[in-house]
């Protein structure tokens, strides 16, 4: 049985906070709003006060705990490595248990109360049409991320695809003998919004002769539910994914979404031995490609005369897990790419799971900073490794009046590789 930690089980971690204040230098939310409740130290103090019974989950406590992107920037710089994102997520689950999901975020309540959601959706003519939204399974992370009634009309969103990625490809794509077998964990972003990234993933692995399994019944990784405090949903999704991914023997479970990578590779790791096993097998696509000889193969491709200036945005869910080199290595190896590093490539884009829906103003402020760094880099394209970041970065750049386009590195890779049809 999958089981997430209760806040009480994190007491020792909470007590590791020595209140030095170092997190104030690194928290994107604190950067947008200078209040102690916005920063890790404040949230840890509040969590401790809740555990000690000094305060309940009053509206203001809940508000402070909701003001966290779970980006892990504080953890990365914390001298005592206090896992604030785990503490905040556990506190949100407590809040959901005590008060129901509704009090934590009205939007999440609307999603969980499905019939109501559908009614509201039908009435909104916003970015997501109710028709397309119906294609999302009830437990898709995208529903938690984008409960349509709470979407700001000014937000740019990609349209949902009329044919999800997993319906476009067979469940098994045979590769060459002697090559590894990987399961492709697509995630909701690629499946419902960016199927082209999925197709690029397949093209890249076929180029290396890898056998690809794409289980049809895989579900959302659960990360948006972690962010929303929907603990039960996370646990159910983890079990469903474990079953789907364990059906066939594979060498690796590969993701092309930083959030899914953190979901399977980190959140699941603590949920039980078989989940830890799955977590160990989980690999980011560029870590996989870099360790399976792709950079050398790319070096052999002919170089075009005009190259495009591309910069890279580090998704928090990769950066905080130490994955920063491999995506850059692949980008630099692409024949059509002139790579430029931007300032603050490793700061959060401001999406933060469900954060940007409930705190769009702060999310926009955080995004605006990023858009400034993108512009200053002189890049024409921003490449990254996470559909969530792609969406948020493009929205931020559009708001800043920029012309840069945001793409997944896989799309650039697919462009560079010689044509080869998808296997039937």
């Amino acid at each position: 049985m999958a089981k997430l930690k209760d806040l009480e089980e994190l007491r020792e971690e909470i007590e590791q906070c020595v209140k030095c204040g170092a997190c104030r230098a690194h928290c994107p939310v604190f950067g947008a709003e200078h209040r102690e409740g916005r920063v890790a130290r404040g949230k840890i103090a509040l969590s401790k006060a809740v555990l000690d019974g000094a305060v309940g989950f009053d509206a203001k406590v809940v508000e402070d705990l909701s003001q966290c992107l779970l980006c892990g920037s504080c953890w990365a710089q914390c001298p005592n490595k206090v896992p604030t994102e785990e503490i905040v997520a556990a506190a949100r689950r407590r809040i959901a248990e005590e008060q129901g999901l509704s009090s934590f975020g009205k939007g999440v309540a609307a999603v969980i109360g499905r019939p109501k959601l559908m009614n509201l959706l039908a009435k909104t003519g916003g970015a997501l049409s109710s028709l397309l939204f119906e294609k999302l399974p009830e437990n898709s992370g995208l529903r938690l991320r984008f409960p349509a009634p709470y979407l700001d009309a000014g937000r740019t969103l990609p349209p949902l695809t009329s044919k999800p990625f997993r319906e476009r490809v067979p469940e098994v794509i045979e590769g060459a003998p002697g090559q590894p077998t990987v399961a492709f964990f697509t995630g909701c972003g690629i499946n419902y919004m960016y199927p082209a990234i999925g197709e690029a993933f397949v093209k890249a692995l076929q180029f290396l002769g890898v056998t690809i399994i794409i289980p049809k019944d895989q579900a959302c990784c659960g990360l948006p539910a972690v962010s929303a405090g929907a603990g039960k949903t996370v646990e159910q999704l983890a079990e469903q994914n474990l079953e789907a991914l364990n059906r066939r023997p594979v060498d690796f479970v590969v993701t092309a979404c930083a959030s899914c990578n953190a979901g399977l590779g980190k959140i699941y790791a603590d949920m039980g031995p078989e989940f830890a096993e799955l977590a160990k097998k989980t690999q980011d696509i560029f870590v996989f490609l870099a360790s399976h000889g792709l950079p050398e193969k790319l070096a052999a491709l002919p170089k075009p005369t005009r190259r495009v200036k591309v910069t890279y945005h580090d998704p928090c869910h990769l950066r905080t897990r130490g994955i920063t080199k491999e995506p850059r290595e692949i980008l630099r190896a692409l024949p059509q790419v002139e790579f430029v590093e931007m300032e603050a490539a490793g700061t959060c884009c401001g999406l933060g799971g469900t954060y940007s829906v409930y705190h769009y103003e702060n999310s926009k402020k955080i995004g605006a900073k990023k858009a400034g760094f993108v512009a200053a880099s002189g890049a024409e394209l921003v490449a990254t490794d996470c559909p969530g970041c792609i969406m948020q970065l493009q929205d931020s750049i559009n708001h800043a009046g920029g012309t840069q386009r945001v793409v997944h590195i896989l799309e650039l890779l697919a462009e560079a590789l010689p044509e080869r049809p998808l296997s039937p």
């Binding site: 204040g21 230098a25 209040r35």
Partner: protein, 460 residues
């Protein structure tokens, strides 16, 4: 709980959104890096000297204590609301108002974060040297109030050496200006120096005029391992005696080195019992020469190994060893008392021997590291508070450490300040007459004892 009438008046001054009385806010402004907690009754976020002036007039009329706060990252409890009342934060006053490149002077509000200010002046080739370990998050207002130091102070001096003038709201609510943007100025008492390090007891700083230097072209870092702390200390004297003042002269004792070894797997020879990290800055062409000269000077003093960084990455790797110290210490014991005594440079080895003896006497680990160049030693008393009797032993050991430093002509605090943490020990260092002089100032300027009461002196 304050009268709703008073809360409404505060809201009238700073705006309703900048006054908080909910439990979440009170908890979030109840602590600092001492890890002690005191709940205030209200948190206010003013945006100007005028607003602060009105708050202080209100506080005097109603006799409510006011506790100014920057980032809340102090090590002595200077910003803790020990008597409830009002926490007044400078978080909204965070603008760099001017960087005057002709006169090498900048003007800032108190809530500007030190590192952000340094980055801003470095962009135009200027330099603000004070570098407390907290510089990424502590504020300039807090740095001035505590007269913060840092590794670079051995060459460049401490915060007060860079403050030319201040705008300050007095404890009774007047707005005054001290000093100004000129390099010289002797009209009236030097209130700027008095307010630097006054720990928020004599006024609330609302504007700071800062002296800047040209940014040195380059720097060079070296790490030297010695076979004894005496060798390292003699090394410090020898370098300074040879008329070289490095930018930083950081040391770690053998116990510190053991902690880092255990925690990080750092590869250093077993014979190494002390470390100096030496950095020099200036024109690029002189640095190699200077680094080699230093290596020559210290060579006869029991050097086990010298590592000189040739690239910024190698320099970073050397500093990473120093930064690994604090996290490593937690592996020794969970609770740490970080004292910051300062002794004359030449007395460092004697002080370390005293600390070792105190450590042995009480049977608790004490590790020493810090700024050898100016005799500022961070004495870390490591205990587990959960073990009965350990806290009492630690307190006795700390008192002996203070006495030891004073015997050598030193001071209890080089850079953290007194706050509440060292207030009980004040009589060890300050004579009754000096204390009376200081208290008379406080009493005259703050007759109602409104501003940061209970700090520095226990009975104030």
């Amino acid at each position: 709980m304050l009268d709703p009438r008073i809360i409404n008046e505060l809201k009238g001054i700073v705006g309703a959104g900048n006054v908080a009385t909910d439990m979440a806010a009170l908890i979030c402004y109840s602590y600092d890096a001492t890890q002690q907690q005191f709940l205030p009754e209200v948190v206010v976020h003013p945006a100007s000297a005028e607003e602060i002036s009105r708050i202080l007039r209100l506080a005097n009329r109603e006799l409510i204590p006011v506790f100014p706060r920057g980032a809340g990252s102090g090590f002595s409890g200077g910003s803790l609301p020990t008597k409830g009342g009002i926490v007044l934060t400078t978080e909204r006053m965070d603008r760099i108002l001017a960087i005057d490149q002709e006169n090498l002077v900048a003007t800032v509000e108190p809530g500007v974060v030190t590192e952000q200010f340094q980055q801003a002046v470095e962009k135009v080739g200027l330099f603000y040297p004070p570098d407390p370990a907290s510089l990424k998050f502590s504020t300039l207002g807090g740095n001035v109030a505590e007269c913060a130091g840092g590794p670079r102070c051995v060459k460049y001096g401490v915060t007060k050496d860079y403050i030319l003038g201040l705008e300050v709201v007095t404890p009774t609510g007047d707005i005054i200006v001290t000093g100004g943007p000129t390099m010289k100025g002797v009209v009236g008492y030097d209130l700027t120096k008095l307010l630097c390090g006054s720990e928020g007891t004599l006024g609330i700083i609302t504007r700071i005029v800062i002296k800047l230097l040209p940014l040195p072209e380059a720097k060079k870092t070296m790490l030297v391992l010695f076979d004894s702390i005496d060798g390292a200390a003699k090394g410090v004297s020898a370098i300074v005696g040879a008329k070289i003042i490095p930018t930083t002269l950081e040391f770690m004792d053998g116990r510190t080195l053991d902690c880092v070894r255990q925690a990080t797997g750092l590869q250093v020879p077993d014979a190494a019992r002390a470390v100096l990290i030496i950095e020099v800055d200036g024109d690029r062409e002189f640095l190699d020469k200077q680094a080699n000269r230093i290596a020559e000077i210290i060579a006869p003093l029991g050097v086990v190994e010298t590592r000189i960084a040739t690239t910024p990455e190698e320099s970073e790797a050397l500093w990473a060893i120093r930064r690994a110290v604090s996290p490593s210490l937690r592996k020794v014991n969970p609770d740490k008392f970080n004292e910051d005594i300062c002794v004359p440079r030449s007395k460092v080895p004697e002080m370390i021997r005293k600390v070792d003896a105190i450590s042995a006497k009480y049977g608790i680990p004490i590790v020493n590291f810090g700024h050898a160049g100016d005799g500022n030693i961070h004495v870390n008393v490591m205990i587990d508070k959960k073990v009965p009797g350990e806290l009492a032993k630690a307190e006795q050991a700390i008192e002996e450490v203070f006495k030891g430093a004073l015997e050598l002509g030193g001071t209890m605090s080089g850079e953290h300040g007194v706050g509440i943490a060292k207030a009980p020990y004040i009589p060890l260092e300050i004579t009754p007459q000096t204390a009376t002089y200081m208290k008379a100032l406080k009493k005259a300027l703050d007759p109602n004892n409104i501003l940061n009461p209970g700090k520095i002196f226990l009975d104030s």
